[in-house]
Symmetry: C2
Subunit: 211 residues, 2 copies
DNA sequence: TTTTTTGTGTAGCGACCGCTAGAGAAAGTT
DNA sequence: AACTTTCTCTAGCGGTCGCTACACAAAAAA
């Protein structure tokens, strides 16, 4: 396999064009980004876009995958690498504050904003599903922390996950409204004050994790 | 004045029609709501809409005023009526949890969602300005609380206001994503755990406010 | 070179957008 | 009754939407 393609080769770099499309969808959302916007930013004609990426909807799906693997990957890394639920959640929020305000690309989170006020129900639902799945992942990590004795026994993992998710979504909105990274880090500092701590004489797992 | 109108009277109730328009804009946002949607829901023809409300943009402006005076009025009431900054902010969040999930009308906050991904820059900026103004109002009330000794002296009112605003915006997003009132109230419970308390021997103003 | 295969550019499709001209309908005024 | 004023209805304007037919260009294969 991997034999040489016959016919005329495409005159643009597919990855570069995809990244341009990602930026457009990120900044203006799915619906407000027109094919005309896309072709202008990607530097190609409409037929080239449709030949390389399918229709607008398929291109958006591919953009979502690219986003999840790049700008949106910090959450998964934090959950995988941090030793405690608290450290994981705090790192998620702190990296969000950084990424959401990073210069050079649109502010905020694409998954939160790109399908708001979208008249294509499948797209709106797809991103909603993803947001709720992210919060469920938070809950799962928190539940793990409760089992390890890092948090009080009575802690409701789903509630705490929703709280972290709400702060996360608030950070995204505020980054779009002009808040700076320092502004958002102060918000994270305050948000983490709400974190429930296991009582002094709690299980050994918490001590092991911090040792 | 107030002489009887000459000519044919309009065949619909203006307030009822305006409320229908409000619901449409609230649910689908400014841009995704078409004039065709509006006329269908309002039960009138396009020329009647334009005669009674001006163009789509002017109608939206009037909807914003109506929203601020009805569904969006709870924030101002909480700030005006509660004796302490903490009580005011907690009531804002708690009433938000209730209103955002109330059956019978769209979920979440119109000011937060209706101009997201809007290609009319004046509209997007108008609502952004309103959101930031709301947070500035929070900051002002918190600053007042600091002056009254309710909060530690070093407290940054702007940071705390942004934190409350972030939670508020998160509540709105989550209500749109299907969270129930109980879900959001648990988030508010957690959020208020972050509230800074003045130390035990702090100023007399705090004692006076709670007495 | 000729043939085959594939990408690119022009040009435009039907559908919907916000909006409105113009004719007729329904009220008050005389 | 006739006249004036205002609203409502039908129909359709110019513009943009997502998308594509078609002719041409540019590469590998024969």
């Amino acid at each position: 396999m991997a034999t040489k393609q016959r016919g005329r080769p495409r005159s643009f770099d597919r990855e570069t064009a995809l990244e341009k499309a990602l930026r457009q969808f990120w900044e203006h959302g799915y619906e407000a980004t027109t094919v005309s916007d896309l072709t202008r930013e990607m530097g190609i004609g409409a037929p080239s876009l449709y030949a390389a990426f399918g229709d607008k909807r398929t291109l958006f799906d591919e953009v979502l995958v690219r986003y999840a693997g790049s700008y949106g990957a910090f959450g998964g890394r934090a959950l995988a690498e941090e030793p405690t639920a608290r450290a994981a959640m705090e790192r998620v929020l702190r990296e969000a504050a950084a990424v959401f305000t990073e210069p050079g690309h649109p502010h905020g989170c694409l998954v939160i904003h790109a399908a708001t006020n979208c008249t294509t129900p499948e797209i709106e639902q797809s991103l909603r599903k993803q947001r709720n799945a992210n919060i469920a992942t938070f809950a799962s990590r928190i539940q793990q922390g409760i089992a390890a004795g890092e948090l009080p026994e009575g802690t409701d993992a789903a509630d705490l996950a929703r709280y972290v998710g709400a702060v996360f979504q608030g950070l995204s909105q505020q980054s779009r409204d002009g808040a700076t990274r320092e502004d958002l880090e102060a918000v994270v500092d305050l948000a983490m004050r709400a974190w429930p701590e296991a009582s002094a004489g709690a299980g050994q797992a918490a001590r092991a994790a911090s040792g």
